[in-house]
């Protein structure tokens, strides 16, 4: 496999955990994100406008807001997935600790290795076995000895609370699992590469309440090791899982989305400083 001429920079940034000592790195790998003056476009369409905010390490930050206000767009600018959309373009800064993710010498591929993502629809690779799905990201990164790989796969599946359900059928296709199991498989796949940040775009919206609870519990466990950002339309979920909540809104359809406020979740849900936030949370609009 050849990385191609487009990736001359090393794949992992200097601060990436050494792959041979994944456990050692667990304490230090969560990082903070500072967004400043971020504007994202789809071709000529300005989807989010001038967003500045911070995401604290080892905590869960929830993005809430009405449909179309740019939550997914903002999330995807954080790991440089926005620019793979045709016409996708970003202005402004995203700092991961002290590194500008949009700096000229930064390789987007390396950014995505450092900042993992879980999507709304569970998307395990259907042509791969459960084991290979979890190992997929690791295999991209270099050769592991079989034993080493076995260990990380087991650890990641345990981390995603899926191990007991799949340990007897690791060689079966991942598409044979239930939706909730598939989503946890995707989480296992994302955490297997020891990312510093985990982005989740409505990870439970395709799942039943039981699977949703399982994933919420999991998020609670994962936040001790990762910085987590989760987009959700479920107010209770935001209140349950997150430490900080950011509310986004847009003045009209087709207008860019803006950050209204970001604060501790408790405050947002009890005593927000902006009237629009209260209206949205109490269901008066959106």
């Amino acid at each position: 496999m050849s990385p191609g001429p487009a990736a001359p920079t090393p794949r992992a940034p200097a601060h990436a955990p050494s792959r041979t000592h994944p456990e050692k790195a667990t304490d230090t790998m969560a990082k903070r994100i500072d967004v400043s003056g971020l504007t994202a476009f789809y071709g000529g369409h300005r989807a989010i406008d001038d967003i500045s905010m911070s995401v604290e390490p080892r905590s869960v930050t929830a993005f809430i807001g009405p449909s179309g206000c740019g939550k997914s767009t903002l999330l995807r600018t954080l790991n440089r997935m926005h620019e793979v959309t045709p016409g996708g373009r970003v202005e402004g800064k995203v700092m991961l600790d002290h590194e500008d993710l949009y700096g000229t010498s930064v390789d987007p591929v390396a950014v995505r290795r450092t900042i993992g993502m879980v999507f709304q629809r569970p998307n395990p690779f259907p042509t791969m076995s459960i084991y290979d799905n979890v190992a997929a990201g690791l295999r991209l990164n270099g050769d592991f000895r079989k034993k080493e790989l076995d260990g990380i796969v087991e650890k990641s599946l345990k981390g995603a609370n899926l191990w007991n359900e799949v340990k007897d059928r690791l060689g079966k296709p991942g598409s044979g699992l239930s939706g909730g199991q598939q989503q946890r498989l995707c989480i296992a796949r994302a955490i297997a590469v020891q990312p510093q940040v985990l982005l989740m775009d409505e990870p439970c919206s395709a799942l039943d309440p039981i699977s949703t609870l399982a994933i919420e519990d999991l998020i609670g466990e994962l936040k001790s090791r990762f910085t987590i950002v989760i987009v959700t339309h479920n107010m209770q979920q935001a209140a349950r899982v997150s430490d900080r909540t950011a509310f986004f809104n847009l003045s009209a359809v087709g207008r860019p989305g803006k950050l209204i406020e970001i604060d501790d979740t408790e405050r947002i849900f009890s005593n927000p400083s902006v009237q629009a936030t209260e209206d949205y949370i109490s269901g008066r609009f959106g």
Partner: protein, 337 residues
């Protein structure tokens, strides 16, 4: 429920004339359109089957006349001499020539086609991809005799350098040894290259379509894991495209096996078997029929029909194999996901 009472609303006059059947709902239990269509489709299906059976019976009958008088082993003999006394003809050379030219064509065309298709679907910017796809569409529609003329007038002289080079450096393999270096490259090797060029567009087009249909969600999954563009393709495009690549290749192979005019224009056929692919000689099923049919007597034509039947069976087997491979891979193809 009787719709005939509700449909003519007082504000909007009914489009049907007032004297039409009042109980329209009941009267439509069997729609005349359905009846006609069913009759037509059933009739044409049966007609088709009858015609095909008649063709098969006719060809088999004619072939059996020739085969029963054949004094040589039809499947292995190299000579083609149905006028002899006793007649002796076999498909040895034709089978070898057809197989070799098709293999060369596939070995060259499939990787190149997959590469071009990936370039169009996943690498090239839109303003390059669209015209390129269009040009390749056009190439697929060029008549084969044009390819044949181009092959004879352009490819044959220009392959001279390549064949000399192959002879010099790979001559020890026997396959690439030339008995008469410098003679025009009207060989089965040239035929293979020409066939590769001819089947390239169709394979490229089918592959491109398939690659474009690979679900974006898996490409995003790979990207989010930190895959490079090639790794995205390897993890989430090629696995989906695999059965499509096989179908496309079989389509191309079918064309290569049956190609007649282009081969007949380029090849200088011969009836002596040789392993030297660069030497003139050899032949293919389709080319042999095209070349000999006109001057053959009735018995000679029966013999040619027998060889045509063999080609037909080979084509069927190739198609069957492709279907088998695709069906066996269904579970992992992700088509159901």
């Amino acid at each position: 429920m009787d719709l005939s009472h509700t449909s003519p609303a007082p504000t909007a006059p009914p489009p049907t004339p007032p004297d039409s059947d009042p109980s329209a709902v009941k009267g439509r239990a069997v729609h005349p359109g359905d009846k006609i269509f069913r009759g037509l489709s059933r009739g044409s299906g049966i007609t088709l089957l009858v015609i095909m059976a008649a063709i098969a019976a006719f060809l088999t009958y004619r072939a059996s006349i020739a085969l029963s008088a054949n004094s040589a082993n039809f499947l292995t003999a190299f000579e083609w001499n149905p006028q002899g006394d006793p007649p002796a003809f076999g498909i040895g050379i034709l089978a070898f020539g057809t197989a070799v030219s098709s293999v060369i064509a596939m070995v060259i065309a499939v990787p190149v086609a997959v590469g071009i298709a990936l370039f169009i679907s996943h690498y090239a910017p839109r303003r390059i991809a669209a015209p390129l796809a269009y040009v390749i569409d056009l190439l697929a529609a060029v008549p084969s005799i044009i390819y044949g003329l181009w092959g004879a007038l352009f490819l044959v002289p220009y392959l001279d350098g390549l064949t000399r080079w192959l002879d010099r450096f790979l001559g020890w393999t026997t396959l690439f040894e030339m008995s008469n270096p410098g003679s025009p490259a009207r060989s089965i090797f040239t035929v293979g290259i020409l066939l590769a060029i001819m089947i390239l567009p169709i394979i490229t087009n089918v592959c491109r379509e398939v690659f474009l249909q690979a679900p974006k969600m898996y490409e995003e999954a790979a990207l989010a894991l930190g895959a490079t563009r090639w790794e995205v393709i390897r993890m989430s495009v090629l696995p989906f495209g695999r059965s499509g690549i096989i179908s496309a290749s079989m389509l191309g192979l079918g064309r290569a096996l049956g190609e007649t005019m282009a081969v007949a224009t380029v090849l200088s056929p011969g009836s002596v078997f040789t392993w030297h692919l660069l030497d003139p000689g050899s032949g293919t099923f389709a080319q042999n029929i095209a070349a000999k049919f006109n001057e053959a007597d009735e018995f000679g034509r029966d013999a040619l029909i027998a060889s045509g039947l063999v080609l037909f069976v080979i084509t069927l087997l190739v198609n069957g194999a492709a279907r088998y491979i695709i069906a066996r891979r269904k579970e992992y193809s992700g088509a159901d996901a």
